[in-house]
Symmetry: C2
Subunit: 343 residues, 2 copies
């Protein structure tokens, strides 16, 4: 009589049990695929589950069992950035293969926010955490790690915490790219970068210096410009450098947003300065200027990190490891008009 009153609440296992005429525990067993339940009962339970539209309450489940929420967290800087979008896509794909949901949170480069978000995700009992660090102190996570939440850092190393890390060979890539510029005869190379406070930028700049020194090319700080936030700013800086008495014959841009601005300005002026850019981008081959990019596989970066994370979740207790993925030099853009450099 009263059984169908109050259609407002979600069905529970008790409802299913009543409907199927079995005990609560039997429903639990069926739902959790525990073997040795009579096939006939299994069928009755499944029928009841379907009829009532029952779905297990994961809060109750993970509260009782104390384990697994089938969720991993990904902390990045900004999801709208294509680089992180690719990271997220690859991580989601691997997560899916493990029947796991992915929670994505953006730190917006703010260490305080990063801290809060990471704590929040831990409080949600995620099974594991993928982190592109924003701050440089992650010792506050040590307690969580000891409590058993596996973590893998990617793209940048963690600060003050021994943990699995997957990085790109920023330094080696920059070194190889700049070496090629130097070998092509360039001796004045303008370098534009976003912010030296970011690990990857420092590595890339170090790589550039690595390549300059052995070739006897002086490191001219007037040709290195920090704080270039967007394409417009990059264009301005390029313009300014080209107006100097001895303008650069080549530019090294440390990320792809900057590369766009550099190319735009060079194209506008009809300059034939060489451009080397860190980060490939999908329309690179369409740009109206010859361009060499230091490319890497962001998806592979995320895939490697996520697989490592799942190994940890699966119980791998070996010593934390650091993986460094290679970069690759690729020539892109319009064919060079003819590489003639200023004297």
């Amino acid at each position: 009589m009263a059984s169908d009153v109050g259609r407002t609440k979600r069905p529970t296992m008790v409802d299913v049990a009543t409907r199927a005429g079995v005990s609560l525990k039997t429903v639990s067993r069926v739902v959790n695929n525990v073997p040795h339940v009579q096939p006939e009962l299994v069928e009755r339970v499944l029928a009841a589950v379907a009829e009532l539209g029952f779905r297990r309450n994961p809060s109750a489940s993970s509260l009782r069992s104390g384990q697994a929420t089938a969720t991993i967290g990904l902390l990045i800087e900004e999801i709208a950035n294509p680089f992180y979008a690719m990271i997220a896509g690859a991580a989601a794909e691997v997560a899916r293969q493990h029947d796991t949901m992915l929670i994505i949170a953006s730190s917006e480069e703010d260490p305080a926010r990063e801290r809060q978000l990471l704590r929040d995700m831990c409080a949600r009992r995620v099974d594991g955490l993928l982190v592109v660090p924003a701050g440089d102190d992650h010792s506050f996570l040590r307690a969580e790690v000891e409590l058993g939440t596996p973590m893998v850092f990617l793209d940048r190393p963690a600060g003050g915490l021994l943990a699995d890390t997957v990085l790109l060979d920023n330094r080696g890539g920059a070194r190889a790219g700049v070496r090629r510029l130097v070998e092509a005869g360039h001796r004045r190379i303008g370098v534009l970068l976003d912010s030296l406070s970011v690990y990857t930028m420092r590595e890339r700049l170090d790589g550039a210096q690595d390549a300059l020194a052995p070739a006897g090319v002086p490191y001219d700080t007037r040709l290195v410009r920090d704080g270039v936030r967007d394409p417009a700013e990059a264009a301005r800086v390029v313009s300014e450098m080209l107006d100097r008495p001895d303008p650069p014959t080549a530019f090294f841009s440390l990320n792809n947003r900057i590369t766009l601005g550099v190319i735009e300005e060079l194209h506008r002026r009809g300059s034939d300065a060489a451009v080397l850019g860190f980060d490939d981008f999908d329309v690179a081959r369409l740009v109206p200027h010859p361009l060499t990019v230091i490319a890497y596989d962001a998806r592979e970066l995320a895939r490697t990190a996520t697989e490592l994370l799942f190994r940890r979740i699966g119980g791998d207790r070996s010593w934390p490891r650091t993986v460094v993925l290679p970069t690759e030099l690729i020539a892109r853009g319009a064919a060079p008009r003819r590489a003639g450099h200023a004297p």
Copy 2:
């Protein structure tokens, strides 16, 4: 004595209560900011919380209170796609303003997977759901909606379900763009699109037809090509159309991936056919060919939808509404060389 044994478990409110010398309930009150607790006790509890590193277990919390997990779900097609990345970014931003986490799941255009993911997110008791539909039947969500999970659909309408929806004016945008082509004298316009099974593509094609008919331009099905999946395929189709006896003098590309291929091929051939593309993209102004794009604000789309969702979560029970956001025509790319069309 035994109180500090087993440092392996997370501290609970009971631990905090013991430490602070108050009752469990008082801890709960402090943690939940319930007023009328003696300031001194609040302080003691907070101190204990800090010392033990306590964080509330959200599983237990939401199990008991039956409400709010401070999480919303976003279902999209593929997170690595820049369009969806922007959607996700804007949604995450609004979610953050509401102290809410965002779970992102990708349907990969698979209705079965969409269904499973949506159910899964509902089972997780998300506070609300943002959905870019992949399938065309969402009646299976009716039960969830009635159970009180608010949902907002965006970019495409839901099938078989009355729900809040935020769309772009695909049809109007396409109409305006094609009208401009027609007014410029084009009478043979090649149309390239991804798949007619997608709502937005159908709308855009309809919009194109809307513009052709009143101008007396015949709708030539030989100039409409479905199933153009990637830039390479688009380039092939363009090449083929240009080799016809009466080649198109303009192309309308229904998404930006196609636009890239179209432009690449036109540029390669040195053709000056006009290009109209749906979707703006960040390097559009760099492309070596004049180009008009039908642009829209994807972030605004997501923002509107997410804000609507939070209004629902906040208790707005008004009749479901549909919002249509405008598009805009923008001229991009290299300046036209001189618009001379074939006779």
